[in-house]
Amino acid sequence: MKTILTTCAVLALGAGNALAEGELNVYNWSDYIAEDTIANFEAETGIKVNYDVFDSNEVLEAKMLTGSSGYDVVVPSIEFMARQAQAGVFAKIDKEALSNYGNLDPQILEILAVNDPDNTHGVPYMMFTTGLGYNVKAVSERIDAEKIGSWDMVFDPETAAKLADCGIAVLDSPSEIMAPALNYLGIDPNSEDKADLEKATDLLLSVRPHIRYFHSSQYINDLANGDICVSVGYSGDVLQARDRAAEANQGVEVAYAIPKEGGQVGFDMLAIPDDAPNAANALKFIDYILRPEVAAAVTNYVYYANPNTAATEFVDDEVRNDPGIYPSKEVQANLFSLRPHTPRYDRSLTRAWTTIKTGQ
């Protein structure tokens, strides 16, 4: 009886807090936060969080440009955030209100400032690379060892043909596939030249018959279940698939490789829409994420590296020493990042992407 009463009292208190502290609407990438981050934040602050997910920058941008999205914190990648900031959709970040801002790696802030001058509109959340996830057994049965972990698995028609029967998946994101395709051809991945785009399109068309589907999050489950054997994917997502496969214990072993030819490194930013209904709570949430323990807990769970210098000591050794999560210096030298596109290039890119997907 006493416990029931106490529970009721706690619930009543909780409800009271929720009313007093208000709500927070977060729109984040799927599988991109620790299991308990939101619950801990709610328990500590009494703010009620509505958590919603997306799986492509394009969808987020469409919502941002429509306006009145109702979200308080959104997580665009830096090159998309920079462009949306030009349309005036993001509020300036009040860094004074963020007591943990100093934890961020100043070098990374400097890199981000190229696209977001003075880091005005966003706070870096996590870093990712785009590379190859694969089913170790299925792949080594079909292709030579030297080809494993190379872009040849997806971009070389001969190699891809050998993998077609066990299933190749590719991110449904034109910018994040064209860039490595250009890079594979020895062209600047940020080139907006029409002829270069055509070359990359031809390359992708040559392997198109061997690609089973284009999707930006389905590959996590499919890799883990053994429904596909190769996927171009985001580092942490592939590593989550690796864990799920190990847990399921069905004889599927998944590995992640940043291809030796180089891959994309990206940053996802915490940003506040200018019409956010709960902007003050949004700052509280961002400051909470910037705490070393919280950032480390997210990294330990989602396997994405964080840009928080103070958090490194809290990151599990196993995660910190995983070259798929924290790439080695040599690999880093080969990584490239993306710049915002002009709308004209976007149209050509989407058109090329439709050609690749449908053959039309």
């Binding site: 492509s56 394009e58 969808v59 941008e61 469409a62 941002m64 440009l65 429509t66 306006g67 462009r83 949306q84 030009q86 349309a87 005036g88 959709v89 299933g167 034109p174 690609i211 089973r212 589907y213 284009f214 279940n225 053994g226 429904d227 709308p343 976007d346 149209r347 989407t350 058109r351 992407w353 439709t354 050609t355 997907k357 449908t358 053959g359 039309q360």
Partner: protein, 316 residues
């Protein structure tokens, strides 16, 4: 005048409203028609005009992501209409083939739905009233689950590692899993499955009214059941067939969820092209132009049909 107003003021609310409506020329029949007209105006015509307006604008990185159609400049009203969006649709063969493909997939699905649905509706209409209610209930029952969940369930059936493949491999019919998911085949299954009730219900409503004495008369005159079916039942159920086909064909043309979840990347349907224009290109004006053209594509067969029906009614 003033006396009348006072009089009106004293009347109970309902009568006052009635008189007010009366004064603007609305009564009885007109009032009943006014409600659906108002509904159509608010939820069809108005949104349509908004979409038509956006389709004449130009895309921009702004919020909302297109340029305004008109602006005041030094007391001049400048209106910029951009018909380029429509020209663009004819420039690029992609849009035409997407329309053709959508109409093709919708038409084939409609025919399959009719072939599957007609016998079901016929049997339900011919069964005893008690059984009939249970059977009708079973047709409607799937609506109690979310449409999205039911399409997801098909993924579980059709995928390489799914139920159908596992069963076929267990009994030794196949050695390698069949590729069924992410193909046009899966899209047809999805559409036929989803829209089957929309075919069965109007067909049932029609067939259940069919006068048995016609069939008896036909048999008395020596026609075999199959002849009776094609010369009596089928022609008499024509309006049910048309209603069912419309209910399946029209939404199937614009279908997005089924091709997105079950279709392959090369399943080109107009719903997906629209999604791409909206979300990948963030080009609302082109997306709106695609939507308007789709409406025109759908309106033409509906008008032709209405004309045919009107002609038929006149003959009768």
């Amino acid at each position: 005048m003033s006396q009348r107003e006072t009089l009106n003021g004293k009347l109970p609310g309902g009568a006052f409203l009635g008189r007010a409506l009366h004064r603007i020329g609305l009564r009885g029949r007109g009032l009943v028609i006014a409600i659906p007209v108002l509904w159509l105006f608010l939820f069809f015509l108005l949104p349509f005009l908004v979409v038509a307006k956006i389709s004449l604008s130009e895309a921009a990185i702004a919020r909302p992501p297109y340029l305004p159609l008109w602006n005041w400049d030094d007391g001049f009203l400048n209106i910029t209409l951009n018909f380029g969006n429509y020209l663009f649709l004819f420039d690029d063969p992609l849009y035409l083939s997407a329309y053709i493909e959508s109409v093709k997939i919708a038409a084939v699905s409609t025919v399959i739905t009719l072939l599957v649905g007609y016998p079901m509706a016929y049997l339900i209409a011919r069964s005893a009233p008690d059984t009939r209610n249970i059977l009708l209930m079973l047709v409607i029952l799937p609506f109690w689950t979310s449409f999205l969940l039911r399409v997801y369930a098909w993924i579980g059936f059709l995928k390489g590692n799914g139920i159908i493949n596992n069963i076929l491999m267990k009994i030794g019919l196949i050695n390698e899993p069949l590729v069924m998911l992410q193909t046009d085949f899966a899209v047809y299954i999805g559409i036929v499955y989803t829209y089957l009730p929309f075919m069965i219900l109007p067909l049932f409503a029609n067939l259940v009214k069919l006068d048995q004495s016609y069939l008896e008369a036909s048999a008395d005159l020596g026609a075999r059941p199959i002849t009776t079916f094609f010369t009596v039942t089928l022609p008499l159920s024509a309006s049910g067939i048309i209603a069912g086909c419309m209910l399946v064909f029209i939404p199937a043309v614009g279908e997005f969820v089924i091709p997105a979840l079950l279709g392959g990347p090369d399943t080109l349907m107009i719903g997906r092209v629209l999604w791409n224009e909206f979300f990948s290109n963030r080009d609302w004006p082109i997306a709106s132009a695609v939507a308007i053209v789709m409406l025109v594509v759908l309106v033409i067969p509906i008008m032709l049909l209405r004309k045919a029906q009107a002609a038929e009614a006149e003959v009768q």
